[in-house]
């Protein structure tokens, strides 16, 4: 595979490892943001098959506009998911006073008994 695409897949994997390794929920969300950045990067890399931006240019010497339009959609989707999960984290930490996921799971298990 092309080098840039391979590097963006590497960033994808690192983001997921951050989501598993780190116990703090905020940092898990940062890892999710890194995953989304990697996807955006790979879309732009694939769309770049010509020198010029897709404004008033011939199809021969411009980039492919379709992946750019798609990734703008998914950037907005990522922002929506981020804000929702952030408000969930705020609510949970206002009840249990921690954002550490292990402690949170323990306290919720105790709370349900």
């Amino acid at each position: 595979m092309e080098l840039n695409l391979f590097l963006s897949i590497t960033i994808f994997g690192i983001g997921i490892v951050i989501m598993v390794l780190k116990r703090d929920l905020m940092i898990k969300l940062i890892g999710l943001g890194i995953v989304e950045t990697a996807v955006t990067l790979s879309f732009v890399i694939v769309s770049h098959n010509g020198p010029l931006p897709p404004i008033l240019t011939l199809p021969i010497d411009r980039v492919d506009p379709l992946p750019q339009a798609m990734i703008i959609t998914s950037i907005v989707v990522g922002f929506a998911v981020l804000s929702l999960s952030l408000v969930f984290v705020v609510y949970l930490s206002s009840v249990y006073h921690t954002t550490d996921s292990y402690k949170l799971q323990k306290r919720i298990k105790k709370d349900e008994q």
């Binding site: 897949i9 997921i16 989501m19 790979s42 694939v46 969930f88 609510y91 949970l92 949170l104 799971q105």
Partner: protein, 457 residues
């Protein structure tokens, strides 16, 4: 529809329910009145039934562009079964007339719009957008209520499916990189890079409630409110399986075998987890994983059979999750186990034709955990919202001439033995290794397996 009145041709009538649902959902935010529910029910039922009865199988491009630059939508018999089950479950949830705030009601309308749009979608990126919308609505529904543990279940669901959908997007990108098209109809002719298909398949399996891969399913189903569980298990869980059916015939053969294997694992693993459970909703959650595995097995036989199976399963599971009374629970449980006059039996015939032994085995494990559903707290009770679900379960009886009747006595005997075993023997209860980190680990492990199956060194 061939008769165009004004500009309402087939294309527009196919898209009309989405727009009506969006308008109604937006208007619903401004009013608290209960009669608004009636308006929503009647209008959605009217426009959807028009589509279901008069629409012929067809492929449109939204807005009438050429297929290369527009979004392609496709209506066929698979879409028919899924939209039919969506309409039934959605209207039965609306008929409960819960005391919800307007925002939740409007979200149900948006959910109808997005699921309908998914069920007619024939474009990889459009499938992504609609699945994302569906899952966002379901996060909010899961967290609704007073308990904080619900919010934790919703957050877990959200993080897991966000990772899965980013994986899907990456796979879509790689498919587009190799072929240059997104429409599934045109993809059949191209030579598709299989790595991208492996990524897409992993993401869709995570969304479709397979055991382990979708680690959110147990908490999200067992902790949320009753109508929310009905919505999740009757409507939302169909999203993944529908998308898998759509992409099934462009999958390479080794990925098809992988789907079959994971289906068998999920069928029996989910059943084994359900054996030891005592909690009603947790049994049903594990049974959902098991049934989704069965529908993956059926998918190996024929796509339309899988669609019918999903139809039967969503109605049955919605009826069971309502936990309304003895009648509904008995009908749902027997239909789940595959009692001959009920829907589950005719849905299982598809397997029975090719390999009967598997069908008998599935019936046995299902009836073993179905026996645990009948607790002491069930009452003789009946509510009007059950009617469409029960009618839908009984309605597949008219398939007798097509499906044919086979193995009736064997299946009856198996159900009896299974229920006896479930009543007598008490199985050990395994804990649930389905927390957030484990779920991510399962996803990545399956992704690695799928990548190893498609790679050519």
């Amino acid at each position: 529809m061939n008769s165009d009145l004004f500009w309402l041709n087939g294309h527009n009538m196919l898209l009309l329910p989405i727009l009506i649902a969006v308008i109604l959902g937006t208007l619903r935010l401004f009013t608290k009145n209960r009669w608004m529910n009636w308006i929503e029910l009647l209008s959605m039922a009217f426009f959807t039934v028009i589509v279901l009865f008069f629409q012929r199988p067809a492929i449109f491009v939204v807005g009438g562009w050429s297929s290369a630059i527009g979004v392609e939508v496709k209506y066929d018999s698979i879409s028919f079964w899924f939209i039919f089950s969506l309409l039934i479950v959605w209207s039965s949830v609306k008929m409960r007339f819960e005391k919800w705030e307007p925002s939740i009601e409007s979200m149900l309308d948006y959910l109808f719009a997005s699921m309908y749009a998914l069920f007619i979608s024939n474009d990889l990126f459009n499938i992504y957008v609609t699945i994302e919308l569906t899952s966002l609505i379901s996060f909010l529904l899961v967290g609704h209520g007073k308990k904080p543990s619900r919010v934790w279940a919703a957050l877990k669901y959200m993080l897991l499916s966000a990772v899965a959908l980013n994986t899907y997007l990456f796979g879509t990108l790689i498919v587009y990189y190799g072929t240059g098209v997104l429409a599934l109809g045109a993809l059949k002719l191209e030579k598709i890079p299989e790595f991208g298909l492996a990524l897409i398949l992993t993401a869709l399996l995570v969304k479709s409630g397979i055991l382990g891969l979708s680690a959110w399913i147990v908490d999200a189903y067992s902790k949320s409110e009753t109508p929310v569980s009905m919505v999740l298990s009757g409507i939302v869980v169909n999203a993944g399986i529908f998308a898998i059916i759509r992409i099934y015939d462009i999958l390479p053969s080794n990925l098809k075998t992988l789907v079959l294997v994971i289906g068998i694992i999920s069928t029996f693993g989910g059943a084994i987890y359900a054996f030891g459970e005592k909690n009603f909703k947790r049994i049903l959650a594990f049974s959902t994983t098991s049934q989704m595995g069965i529908s993956l097995i059926v998918l190996g036989v024929s796509p339309i059979a899988a669609a019918i199976y999903a139809f039967f399963h969503s109605n049955t599971k919605a009826l069971l999750f309502s936990k309304n009374g003895k009648i509904s629970t008995t009908i749902g449980a027997l239909s789940l186990a595959g009692m001959p006059p009920l829907a589950g039996y005719f849905a299982k015939i598809a397997i029975g034709e090719s390999h009967p032994m598997v069908s008998i085995l599935i019936t046995f494990v299902t009836s073993v955990y179905v026996a645990n559903l009948f607790g002491p707290d069930l009452k003789w009770k009946f509510s009007p919202f059950e009617i469409p679900l029960e009618f839908a379960i009984l309605s597949l009886m008219f398939l007798i001439p097509f499906g044919g009747v086979m193995y009736t006595t064997e299946i009856l005997a198996t159900i009896a033995i299974g229920i006896l075993v479930g009543k007598r023997i008490s199985f050990p209860n395994f804990g649930d290794p389905f927390e957030l980190e484990e779920g991510l680990a399962y996803q990545m492990a399956f992704l690695a397996i799928a990548a190893l199956t498609v790679v050519k060194w």
